[in-house]
């Protein structure tokens, strides 16, 4: 311990002038990568990629991921994970879908869906924070539970058609009319608006409140935070509740967008949300997650999916490329940190 500062001093002195470039690259490397990707698709698909309508489309495509990634950021600020968000979104969708099918009011179905999300998050939080199971194991367990519950409640079938009210499905497809650009009707999708609201709330919570500052303190040094007067257990619990609610919102958005509730439709969200947070973390000097950086990660994933699909790249190849780009970004960032 006593030798480590000396070691960094030495490393800094022999690296000399390269330090400034390394720092610049470290902070903006991911942003530069994003710009390169956008430039590449603009060059490859000049007509269909770089226009307002497609970008509105991209924001809608990433809106659901955006919500999960934003609330996942809160958990990851604590150095924890929530692996259960994907199956939680599926389960909340099934709960809401089942209620709607059985004739409950839309408002009741949505409210109960959110409540289920908060309850699931509370379970995660209690397991991690009070019973002290590692977040990986605890949320892996609840991931499986939520998956089973979704399948059990739905009987393994998809709820669709008249069971889903048109008000909900229209919301998922619709948006606010903005005007006509280049002869195209431009609307700001409602789902994008929801994501923007969640983003702003999460940003305020993390960057502008006592709660957020304490979360960062816990993530930096849990013991020092506790001795310095932070209620670590309560705050960790709350972070998981928020993450559960984010997953619930995403699950309801999925029902709205797809006009159906399938017991596995949210399952892919978890890995992509964590990937987005990691992409964002490459932009932080201290390796801390920040929600705006997470959104850049979300956009990178969204633009890749959109652009590669437009180039008619096979979806299997898309996965290989996306995974490779994530690994590359994190590798470059950790190399520049040495």
């Amino acid at each position: 311990m006593t030798t480590s500062p000396q070691a960094t001093d030495d490393a800094r002195s022999w690296r000399g002038g390269r330090v400034r470039w390394a720092r610049l690259f470290r902070q903006f490397g991911t942003l530069i990568g994003f710009i390169v990707i956008v430039a590449f698709f603009s060059w490859q698909k000049p007509d269909t990629f770089m226009n307002v309508r497609n970008w509105m489309n991209i924001t809608q495509q990433v809106s659901i991921l955006g919500v999960v990634a934003a609330t996942m950021t809160i958990v990851m600020v604590l150095n924890d994970f929530d692996l259960s968000v994907g199956t939680m979104a599926s389960m909340v969708g099934i709960v809401a879908g089942t209620l709607l099918r059985d004739g409950y009011m839309l408002g009741v179905a949505l409210a109960l869906g959110l409540l289920v999300g908060a309850g699931g998050g509370l379970l995660n939080g209690v397991l991690v924070s009070y019973i002290r199971i590692s977040p990986f194991v605890a949320t892996l367990g609840t991931l499986t539970m939520f998956n089973g519950l979704a399948l059990y409640i739905s009987g393994g079938t998809t709820i669709f058609g008249r069971a889903i009210p048109t008000a909900l499905s229209d919301f998922g497809r619709g948006g606010i009319y903005l005007g006509i650009v280049d002869g195209q009707r431009i609307t700001l999708p409602y789902l994008t608006i929801i994501t923007l609201v969640v983003l702003i709330v999460v940003w305020i919570v993390l960057e502008q409140t006592v709660f957020g500052r304490r979360l960062y303190a816990i993530g930096g040094n849990m013991e020092a935070a506790r001795l310095g007067g932070v209620r670590v257990r309560m705050l960790r619990l709350m972070a998981f509740v928020i993450s559960g609610m984010g997953a619930a919102i995403a699950g309801l958005m999925l029902v709205s967008r797809l006009a159906s509730a399938n017991p596995t439709q949210g399952d892919g969200l978890m890995l992509r949300a964590i990937a987005a947070v990691f992409l964002g973390m490459t932009m932080s000097e201290e390796g801390e997650p920040h929600v705006l950086a997470t959104m850049l990660g979300v956009l990178i994933l969204g633009v890749l999916a959109n652009g590669l699909t437009q180039m008619q790249i096979d979806t299997y190849i898309q996965q290989i490329l996306t995974g490779g780009i994530i690994v590359l970004a994190v590798t470059l960032s950790s190399l520049s940190r040495r």
Binding site: P5, T209, G220, E223, A225, L227, G229
Partner: protein
């Protein structure tokens, strides 16, 4: 007390280990200055000194885990240069550390052979039967018959685990067992700390046997009675320098204590302000405070008082402060603050009721190193600085932390600088600034000046006086005895988790204080009250 000298070749052979001119400084603060040490074949050599005297630095240099600024080291007359732990191991040095660095999930046999190649079949598969047999042999050598090689480490008592770790240092004590050079030099750092009397006695027998077989043992301890029981010679370190190296015959415990504490330069402590008097008013009333580590501690702290806490390591000093700030679970006892019971169940609640805490390890317990000075100073006070207790008021945080930084004379580029970039002294000042920020009623300090350079030390002492003059009661744990005597009004002395003495510092000498910490010695070694 004297040991029969083992048979030696008449011609004086080269010593097993010879160190001269060892120098090591951390961030410009010298930890070892021109230290020397000679270990002869067939001797038990004790190494003693106060905390921070340089014992562990010297051992780390011998182990090759720390590189010296300059050192000349020879094993059996051959110059050596240890660059890593393996080099020391290959030269025949074995280390038994105070902390248990065992792998709790592995078996006794696997832990014994942790640093060795396991015996194998066909060079690949572990030869479990032979591993267990060899382990049994090693354990038997130490007279340990109650442990089986297959037992899982985690299931053993701490004392038994320590015995296993000790056994692992003896794996190749028998030269015939392997082709490699046998171990010849054993360095034991407080090996009996976790052992029962019977276990310790067994270890002493092994040490005697090693000595008789021509090995050298460097024995580091705080327990003077063990030195008189075991050692042939003793080297005393003080402030990084070797005070003397003397044969144990003709030395007394009092003499050793004097050698450990006698100081060339007197540390200067800022005096208490002329109009500051310890009042009669009880600020903190602690009755029967009990946790897993301390037992029934009762004391009172008066307004404007600085109360010291002394004791050997493991006596429960840190744990007393942790109990007061509610970092450890309190099993029994009451704490009254200003006459009303302290209702806190967590550090957060304790801070809110007017307690403040500077923990022992500033890097692991005090600071969030990734965050700025300002974030660290304001952490316990965020609600008070925030708008409506919820929304951060960045300007006010910066102003407060700038004021506090000024008050503690923190040297930094600004309050937004990350704390990992600061020197040890400035990091400590950051932790102090946090503790002072809301003028606490009680300030708990654990080793407030450890690893801090002389200038910063004086700043911190001045600061303690200043905050104390404002009426804050201070409880201060320190291993630096002159510091306790120089700063405190009274000193509590803890031993094995219990409060054994309370002394006034007026006219108290360092020797007396250290003697009280050590407790009763056997009669003939009783340090004379001269």
């Amino acid at each position: 007390m004297a040991h029969p000298q083992p048979a030696q070749a008449p011609a004086e052979p080269a010593p097993l280990l010879h160190i001269t001119g060892a120098n090591k400084a951390y961030h410009g603060i010298p930890a070892l200055v021109d230290a020397s040490l000679t270990l002869r074949a067939g001797e038990v050599h004790a190494l003693i000194g106060e905390n921070g005297a340089g014992k562990s630095t010297l051992i780390k240099l011998m182990a090759g885990v720390l590189s010296a600024d300059s050192i000349a080291m020879a094993v059996r007359g051959q110059p050596v240069n240890f660059r890593e732990a393996r080099d020391a191991f290959d030269a025949g040095l074995r280390f038994i550390h105070q902390e248990l660095n065992a792998v709790p999930t592995l078996s006794v046999a696997e832990n014994v052979f942790l640093n060795q190649r396991y015996p194998t079949r066909a060079g690949v598969f572990v030869h479990w039967r032979r591993l267990h047999r060899q382990t049994r042999d090693v354990l038997a050598q130490l007279g340990i018959t109650h442990l089986a090689p297959g037992q899982i480490m985690a299931r053993l008592s701490p004392g038994d685990q320590m015995l296993v770790k000790i056994a692992s240092a003896f794996v190749d004590a028998n030269p015939s067992a392997s082709g490699e050079r046998a171990a010849a030099i054993y360095v034991m750092d407080e090996p009996t700390a976790a052992l029962s009397t019977a276990e310790a006695a067994r270890l002493f027998e092994v040490i005697d046997r090693l000595r008789a077989s021509g090995c050298a043992i460097l024995y580091v301890t705080h327990r003077l009675d063990e030195i008189f029981q075991l050692a042939d010679r003793v080297t005393v370190l003080r402030d990084g320098r070797v005070v003397d190296c003397v044969p144990i015959e003709g030395t007394t415990a009092a003499g050793l204590i004097r050698m450990m504490t006698g100081r060339d330069l007197q540390q200067v402590y800022p005096p208490r302000g002329p109009d500051v008097q310890v009042s009669e008013r009880v600020l903190l009333d602690v009755q029967g405070l009990t946790t897993r580590a301390i037992h029934g501690v009762s004391f009172q702290l008066f307004e404007n008082e600085i109360l010291g806490v002394a004791g050997l390591s493991g006596a429960g000093r840190t744990e007393l402060l942790r109990a007061l700030i509610r970092a450890d679970r309190v099993l029994a006892g009451t704490v009254a603050l200003n006459g009303s019971a302290l209702q806190a169940r967590s550090p957060a609640e304790a801070w809110d009721q007017g307690m403040a805490y500077v923990p022992e390890e500033r890097r692991s317990q005090g600071l969030v190193l990734s965050r700025s000075i300002s974030d660290n100073i304001t952490l316990p006070h965020l609600r008070h600085l925030a708008r409506r207790g919820t929304f951060l008021n960045h300007a006010r945080e910066r102003r407060t932390s700038a004021e506090m930084s000024e008050a503690v004379r923190l040297k930094a580029e600004g309050v937004t600088q990350a704390t990992w970039q600061l020197s040890g002294g400035n990091q400590q000042k950051t932790v102090f600034a946090r503790a002072f920020a809301r003028s606490p009623q009680i300030l708990l300090l654990d080793e407030p000046t450890r690893g801090v350079d002389v200038g910063a030390k004086f700043d911190i002492y001045t600061l303690i006086r200043k905050i104390n003059a404002q009426g804050t009661g201070i409880v201060m744990v320190s291993s630096d005895l002159p510091e306790l005597i120089g700063m405190c009004d009274r000193i509590l002395i803890l031993r094995d988790g219990a409060l054994v003495h309370t002394v006034q510092t007026e006219a108290l000498t360092e020797n007396e204080l250290l003697t009280l910490c050590y407790g009763e010695l056997s009669d003939d070694n009783q340090p004379a009250s001269h």
